[in-house]
Structures are given as C-alpha cells and as structure tokens.
C-alpha cells in the first residue's frame, strides 16, 4: 500500500497543478452562483419586502422625490449574498450576476449612495 500511494504522489509531479493562479486565471463558477446583484429600478414597485427580510439589514429603502416612491439601496459590505431579496421579490426586479470579485481598496465603493432611475 505505501508504494501505491507513492506512485500516485510521483504521478502528480507530472500533472498540471490543481491550484488555480487566481488573478491571472479566473475561477469557474456555475451559472447559478450567487454573485453581485443589483436592482432594476424600472421594474421595482417599492414594496420593501427585500428590506424587511434581509438578514443583515444591508438593504435600506430611500425615497426618490421625483417618483414619490421608496426604492431599495444595497450596502455590499454588509451583504451576505443569501439572495433572499432575489427570491422574495414579487416583480423579479433584481438583476443577478456571477461576479464574485468584490475586493476594493475603498470601502465606500461597496455602499450604494444614489438611485439612477
């Protein structure tokens, strides 16, 4: 038995490494991976369900005076990407993506400040 394991170890020396060189090569993710999501404000009806259900309180509702409605704003530094907001939305107003590269040098970039309707 030890020799068989040794054989596997030696054969691994000549194989391509399993480690992914991340910044150069991107990690493959399945299509339903829960990445960065945003709100489609043209579809949103301002029902606040996502803000009520958000487990971390990452979604706050803000009044937009021109439209006289409240719209959700996401704080990505608080978000845990559970997609409860995506699941619960009655009009499917959330646009989902596979983007997992959220690292930034400025924390303010992760906090949504204005609503572009």
């Amino acid at each position: 038995m030890p020799l068989k394991l040794l054989r596997e170890t030696i054969s691994n020396l000549f194989k391509k490494p399993i480690t992914i060189e991340y910044p150069k090569v991107l990690t493959e993710v399945p299509e339903n991976y829960r990445g960065k999501h945003r709100v489609n404000y043209n579809k949103c009806v301002g029902c606040s369900l996502c803000a009520i259900d958000c487990p971390t309180g990452a979604i706050t509702m803000k009044v937009v005076p021109e439209r006289k409605k409240r719209y959700p704003m996401i704080n990505y530094s608080k978000c845990i990407f559970c997609y409860q907001c995506v699941y619960v939305c009655p009009v499917k107003a959330y646009i989902v993506s596979n983007d997992y590269r959220l690292a930034t040098s400025d924390k303010d970039e992760l906090i949504q400040k204005e609503i572009k309707v």
């Binding site: 038995m1 993710v29 399945p30 259900d53 559970c82 997609y83």
Partner: protein, 390 residues
Amino acid sequence: MNKSTYVEIPVGPQHPALHEPLLLRVKVDGEAVVDVQVITGYNHRGIEKLGERNTWIQNAYLYGRVCGICNTVHAQAYVQCVEEIGGIQAPPRANYLRTLVMELERIHSHMLITAVMAELTGFDTLFMLLMRDRERIMWSKEIVTGNRVLADYIIPGGVKWDVNKDKLSKILKVLDFIEERMKYYKKVIMEDSIINKRWRGIGIIRKDEALEYCLVGPTVRGSGVKTDIRKDDPYAAYGELDFELITYDEGDVWSRMMVRVDEIFESINMIRQIIKKLPDGPIAGKALPRVIKPGEAISRVEAPRGELVYHIISKGGQRPYRVKVRTPSFSNILNGVIAYRNSLLADVPVILGSFDPCIACMERLIVYDVRKNVEKVVPIRKLIRKRVMR
C-alpha cells in the same frame, strides 16, 4: 507519586494542531496523560440572543451560520421547528432536495475530518489528496444551491431553487468519481502502517461509557451503539430512502474514523436514490410564513457530527421568543474527556480530532433555575472549571 508533581501542559487555544480555539489542560506524568480538562469560551457569539431579535425568515439564514461546515442541517432543524409550530408542510420535492443537499454536506464534512486527521497524524499526502477530491463535492453543492459552503437553501415551507436534469447528471458524475477515490482511500486507511499505529487502540471509549456519557453521532457509533436520527426519527425524505446504519465495535480513534468513511459510501448511495426517486411538483409553499402562531416545538436532525437539537418557543408575532440550540460537538468535546485516559501526550490532538470537534457550534449556554424560576447566562468556562474529570 505526589499529585502536585504532575506537569500541566496547555494544548491550545492557539495550537497548530487545532484549527479552532479550544484549550485542553493536559496533566502529564512523563509522557502519560493523567487528566485532561477542557476549557472553552473563546468563540462565543451570542447567536441565540440575536435570534430573538430577528424575524422568522431572517433566522433561517442566521442559524445556518451557527456552524459553517454543517449549515444546512442547522437550517433544516430550525425550519422543522418553525414548520411544526406553524402547521406548514413542505412539498415532497422540497424534502428530497433538502436531503440531497444535507447528504452532499455530510460527504464533504466527513472527507474534511478524515483529511484533517491524516494531517494530525503526520500523513500530509493523504490530506492533500482528500482535500483535492473534496473540492468536487463542494462544486456539486454549488451547482444545486449557488454557494460552495453556505447553502442558504432551506427556508420555512420549502427550498429556494430548483434543479434540472443537467445539474443532476453533473452531480452523478462527481459521485462516481468520489466513490472510486474513496474506495482507494478506505484501503489506505485500513492498511497503511502509519495510520494503524497512530489510530488503532488509542482513545478507547467502551460501549457502556459511550451511553453513560451521552456521546452522539459517529463517535458513539464507533463504540458499537446503534443510533442515528435518520433511522430512529426520520425527517425530510430519510424515511423513504434505503440505507444502512454503520457501527464499529472497537471504540478507538480508528473505528470512529471508519464509521465516517463508510458513511460517505452510504451518503453516495442515498444521493443516487434521491436523484432516481425525485418527485415532481412545487419546491416551496406559495407564501413565506411571516407570522407564526404561539407554540413550542423540538426537532432533532442527524448532523455530520451527531444529534442536533433545536427547541423553539413562539409567543406569536414575527419573532421567536426563544431558540435553544444543542449541538453534537457540545456533548462530544466536553464528555469525550474519558477517551484521553491511559494515552500519551502525542495522542491528545489525534483523539480530539476523532470527535470531529466544531468549536463554533458549541459555545452557548443558559442555566434555568427551576426552584427560583430565574434564567441566567453562565459562561461555559465557569461551568467547566467546576467539573473534575478523571
């Protein structure tokens, strides 16, 4: 020899062999271990108190985060309680999908602890190979739920996302690969001389002791006790699946690990059955239950580490009144001190590893005084210090 001449060696809380903060005060006489005292309390997060402030829906995500490795079983146990109090029934397809994710989680949890145990033993090659193959299971969990560790999949009334044939065939391919690899690793664990020397006959817990000290999960099945919540009290879709209950009689580190290795094969079997039998229909109820009527419920599930108990009290409204969690690691780590008797100092990390310790799981406690009718929070550290363990 006078008792005061024993040397006390702290193992942890920051120790290269233990990946989570836990202090073992090991009293040694030369190399031989005389006494072990477990001291915890480095990882308390106040999750139970936070649960009283959150809504029923938010808590499904919060309790998934009690433990990272076994997050779907925590969510399942919580959701079972909520469904029982609220009189909600999950559709059969949701039950099957829940079982599918929980079994995938069991496979990767058991592969992880086998790899970590190989590393603690000094067998790094096996560690690397197992961790490499485990990634495929994580990947198949990601296909179903959308994330490789934290599934966030189970909600009161059902599950969140559906699967299609394409996804299921990908999972079946991964299972074929894993089964073949695990057969090979099982052979290594059974025959390798390093593992046989470090695991066999060490940390023995006899059957009667295992029952007396209320150990749970693979730890107690490694001592020959036939107990498994999936069989004893079937939940989700386990009642309709055919699987064996695995026990080993030796009661040592090796038999505890072999229970886990064999359970991986059973889990692979179960997932194949689930994919075959998966019924059609809806995956969740029409609306999420936001208000639950008053009531009380207890639910048990078999986590990868053993029996997990949730006790929820509802007084109506949007929030639970109390959520009590009893994790398997709690009884395994604290009562497992009997396994350290007559062992050597070098075996202490191996014995602790064989319980599959999950420190993040177990750090919570409230003492309820029945006579005075008062509730007070006592740090675990204080309680453990009162115990004298021999």
